[in-house]
């Protein structure tokens, strides 16, 4: 098991290193110039050149990369070009925001989706299955900017029961923060429900068809016990992986939801950083999302191995 985890951690580190290369060099091909972005389109070229030199973006790329990545490894994420301040507090605050929103969305969507998938699987071909499948598919095809505006208008303006902005006052309590995050979570729940429920349904259908489930039924176990002890344990294995792979989206891919609900998450932060050529902010943001994603994937692998002994035994051999 230790070897299995060590291998996974090793792969994760290699992946992060490759990600650092991609984000750094991809950032360089973005059109525009950092100094131009700071001083404006109308600033004279001499001022642009001077500021580029001051920022160090006129040095060889490999030198810039080495300085950045060694700083990052030592905990120095660099200084924002736009805000002329260390990047770390911006990344840290935005990441916390994104994690909170992701957590609320997860807490809502995971049980609902698994329940929906299992109910559909237990009613294969019948009305509940069709309703859940069609609703799930339909919901996941509605873009966030559509569902977001609809929920804002319905719950925030017409019914006036939920705040339309996800920003809470400084020092707000945890329940107050969760209250502010309910509305922005709904578009995410709609997007993810269909996908997770479909995976849960497929896994449950497969498990219900398996020999061990049939044996459990034949030996007289009640249906509920069969589902709880034999079916769910096996059917949820792929679902856990699917949930983990959504982490990247939920942490860094919510630019539209964050914009619509005026929420300062990390997706919006790195999107703006890319627009403004704020490379330190962009690179640190993407790498931070990568780290969170890797950690989530590692946890999922660990849970997967717990649920599926073949994985950990296979890895040990």
């Amino acid at each position: 098991m230790a070897l299995y985890i060590a291998k996974r951690v090793g792969y994760a580190l290699i992946t992060l290193w490759i990600l650092s290369l991609i984000v750094f060099f991809a950032g360089q091909v973005l059109p525009g110039d950092p100094a131009r972005s700071i001083l404006g389109q109308l600033a004279p070229q001499s001022a642009i050149n001077a500021l580029d030199h001051q920022l160090g973006v006129d040095r060889p790329l490999l030198t810039q990369y080495w300085d950045w990545i060694t700083g990052f490894v030592h905990g120095d994420m660099g200084n924002s070009y736009q805000f002329r301040a260390p990047v770390e507090p911006y990344i840290s605050a935005a990441l916390q925001h994104s994690l909170k929103l992701a957590a609320v969305a997860f807490v809502i969507v995971v049980p609902i989706s698994i329940l929906g998938g299992v109910v559909a699987a237990l009613n294969v071909g019948r009305a509940p299955d069709r309703i859940i499948t069609v609703l799930g598919l339909s919901a996941s095809t509605v873009p966030e900017f559509v569902s977001g505006i609809v929920v804002i208008i319905v719950f925030g303006i017409w019914l006036d029961v939920l705040p339309i902005s996800a920003s809470w006052s400084p020092g707000a309590s945890i329940p107050d923060q969760v209250y502010h995050l309910i509305l922005p979570s709904i578009p995410l729940v709609l997007i993810l429900f269909g996908y997770i429920a479909r995976m849960a349904r497929a896994g449950t259908v497969e498990a219900l068809d398996s020999d061990y489930a049939r044996t459990a039924v034949l030996k007289g176990l009640p249906r509920g016990v069969v589902i709880r002890r034999h079916v769910l344990r096996n059917s949820l294995v792929p679902t856990v992986t699917v949930i983990a792979t959504q982490t990247g989206y939920l942490i860094g891919g919510l630019v539209i939801v964050e914009t619509l609900f005026n929420y300062q998450g990390i997706g919006l932060l790195i999107y703006k950083a890319a627009q403004e050529k704020d490379f330190p902010m962009l690179e640190a943001g993407v790498l931070s999302i990568g780290i969170v994603y890797m950690v989530a994937t590692l946890i999922a692998d660990f849970v997967y191995s717990m649920l599926n002994p073949r994985i950990r035994f296979g890895a040990s051999e």
Binding site: G40, Q41, L42, L51, Q82, F83, Y90, I152, I164, N262
Partner: protein, 552 residues
């Protein structure tokens, strides 16, 4: 009337030649009351004096600016506003975006303010005057003003601020406004409360360069490091900083030690938004009281909402559609005229702006400018004439060309209109619509057809120089015309409005004939407030002043 004449003569006796010329024009009826107030302020007549002159001529004073209106508000309360997120650090030297300039003006103050009617109002300067050549301007600085840290305002602060911002080796965003007008050595302290500006060329509208139009120019304390301004928001204004969080928002409290009329609200709160739509939804939901700016495209929900007051400020903001005068087929003015004649401008103003814009007449002289010669005939759609012009220029069967523009507000839609309009005379335009960064770095000044955005200015000086003069640095049309260069220099140096108007008419006719650039419309600046909020005052350039705001 004899009494009025006596009062007028008394006033005249104390004024200099330039000021008396403006008074004469008003008395003779060549200036409307609005134009008199606007032009009089530029040459240094105070508002009370102009009010007395207007009264002596049988009128009543009216210098109020566009605002959310209503009865005078009551003090107290907190006004919550939504504005676009400032794009970077709030540094008076480098701020170049609307969110940033909004922040500067909450606590900082200018020598004078260009209000929503483009009238100059004295702020930290009590008065100003020019020499007859209009190349030396002397500003009297208001006494008894203190910065938020208690330090008194003196000429040293003004001199320091202007030398800092006009230093050609510096990074000031104000340099584009100072270019060719003033250098640091031209800023002179005359005494503790008098500053003289020795210009490198005559400029009859120089006070506008010292106004809120040049939005970086809030007065800083002497020797203050502007890069640290975000930590203090130090200024002399009616509000003081309470808190500022980058990318999130800012809050301000009333400055009880303010030198002028105290702000009505106890406090203001600004929330930063990255897009227009969330601001509109927040206003509709009551989360905020004011939206600092919105555009018609995407903002229709506010235009017809009875619970919202839309504040519409006439402005000179526009798009310039340049055609390369040095590249075929646009070397021939007839071809350029033909393209301009394809546009149905009233339909464009209605379609893109729901009427909240004014027609452009292919010159930068917007209807809002007092100096615009309104007797110059308006160019209208004329496809027959356009085809004849193309035929005469040897392009009777049309031609293909390329238009480059940016993804800003209605510009892509306008580019599509230009394409479809030109197609009616056989001109096939391929469109390249890019992000502003891509456009400015690649195609702005090199594209054979190029459409760029220009923000509001109260006087057309900037629009007349860099984009159109032969050596202009933003001359995307590559227009080189010595007659134009002479006329534009004459206009800028002309002190009295009648002379400006005369030269403006010549420029307008010349540009109609040459059509290096198409100016199809000038669109209004739009802000909105909840209907129970009054006293919100935006300016055409993007400020949002809340010191007179109150909630019923």
């Amino acid at each position: 009337m004899d009494e009025n004449q006596r009062r007028l003569d008394t006033i005249r006796g104390r004024r200099d030649e330039i000021e008396n010329h403006v008074i004469d024009e008003f008395v003779a009826g060549r200036l409307s009351r609005g134009d008199f107030l606007r032009r009089g302020a530029v040459v240094g007549l105070s508002l009370p004096m102009m009010a007395a002159i207007v009264a002596a001529c049988g009128g009543a004073n009216s210098s109020s600016s566009a605002s959310s209106g209503g009865a005078p508000g009551k003090p107290g309360g907190t006004i919550k506003a939504g504005i676009i997120t400032p794009s970077g650090a709030i540094d008076p030297v480098t701020v170049l975006d609307q969110g940033g300039l909004d922040m500067l003006a909450q606590t900082g103050e200018y020598l004078c303010l260009a209000n929503s009617k483009s009238q100059l109002v004295p702020v930290l300067a009590e008065s100003w005057s020019a020499n007859p050549a209009a190349n030396v301007w002397t500003f009297k600085i208001r006494q008894g003003v203190k910065f938020h840290n208690g330090q008194p305002l003196t000429a040293d602060d003004v001199v320091y601020t202007y030398k800092l911002q006009s230093d050609p080796k510096g990074k000031s965003n104000a340099l584009s406004a100072f270019n060719g007008i003033i250098v640091p050595s031209g800023v002179e302290k005359v005494d503790d409360f008098t500053v003289a500006f020795h210009l490198t060329a005559p400029d009859a509208n120089f006070p506008y360069v010292c106004s809120s139009e040049n939005y970086n120019m809030i007065i800083l304390p002497n020797n203050y490091d502007s890069s640290k301004w975000e930590g203090s928001f130090i200024g002399t204004g009616p509000f003081k900083l309470k808190s500022y969080t980058a990318k999130v928002g800012a809050s301000f409290v009333r400055n009880e030690a303010y030198w002028g009329k105290k702000a009505l609200p106890d406090a203001t709160e600004f929330t930063f938004y990255d897009a227009q739509q969330p601001q509109i939804l927040a206003l509709e939901a009551g989360t905020i009281d004011v939206v600092g700016q919105f555009s018609v495209q995407g903002g229709q929900a506010l235009l017809n909402n009875p619970k919202v007051t839309v504040i519409s400020v006439r402005s000179s903001a526009h798009r310039e559609l340049s055609m390369r005068n040095d590249q075929a087929p646009f070397t021939d003015p007839r071809v350029r005229q033909a393209v301009a004649l394809t546009l149905a401008r009233p339909d464009i103003v209605q379609g893109l702006f729901q009427g909240k814009a004014e027609l452009g007449n292919d010159s930068p002289f917007a209807p809002v400018f007092a100096s615009t010669d309104s007797s110059v005939p308006q160019r209208a759609q004329d496809l027959t004439k356009a085809k004849q012009l193309l035929q005469a220029a040897g392009h009777g069967s049309g031609f293909s060309t390329h238009l480059f523009t940016e993804t800003t507000q209605e510009m892509p839609a306008f580019a599509q209109i230009v394409k479809s309009s030109a197609a009616k005379i056989g001109v096939d335009i391929a469109l390249t619509i890019e992000s502003p960064d891509q456009y400015y770095s690649k195609d702005w000044l090199s594209g054979i057809m190029s459409m760029v955005d220009y923000g509001h200015r109260s006087v057309p000086n900037l629009f007349l120089q860099a984009p159109l003069q032969s050596k202009g640095t933003w001359n995307a049309a590559h227009f080189k015309n010595s007659q134009y260069d002479t006329l534009s220099a004459q206009y800028i140096a002309a002190l009295d409005l009648q002379s400006q108007r005369t030269v403006a008419g010549k420029i307008q006719n010349l540009l109609l004939e040459q059509t290096p650039v198409i100016y199809a419309y000038f669109y209004n600046y739009l802000a909105a407030s909840a209907s129970n909020v009054s006293g919100v005052e935006p300016t055409g350039i993007g400020h949002l002043f809340l010191f007179n705001a109150s909630k019923a």
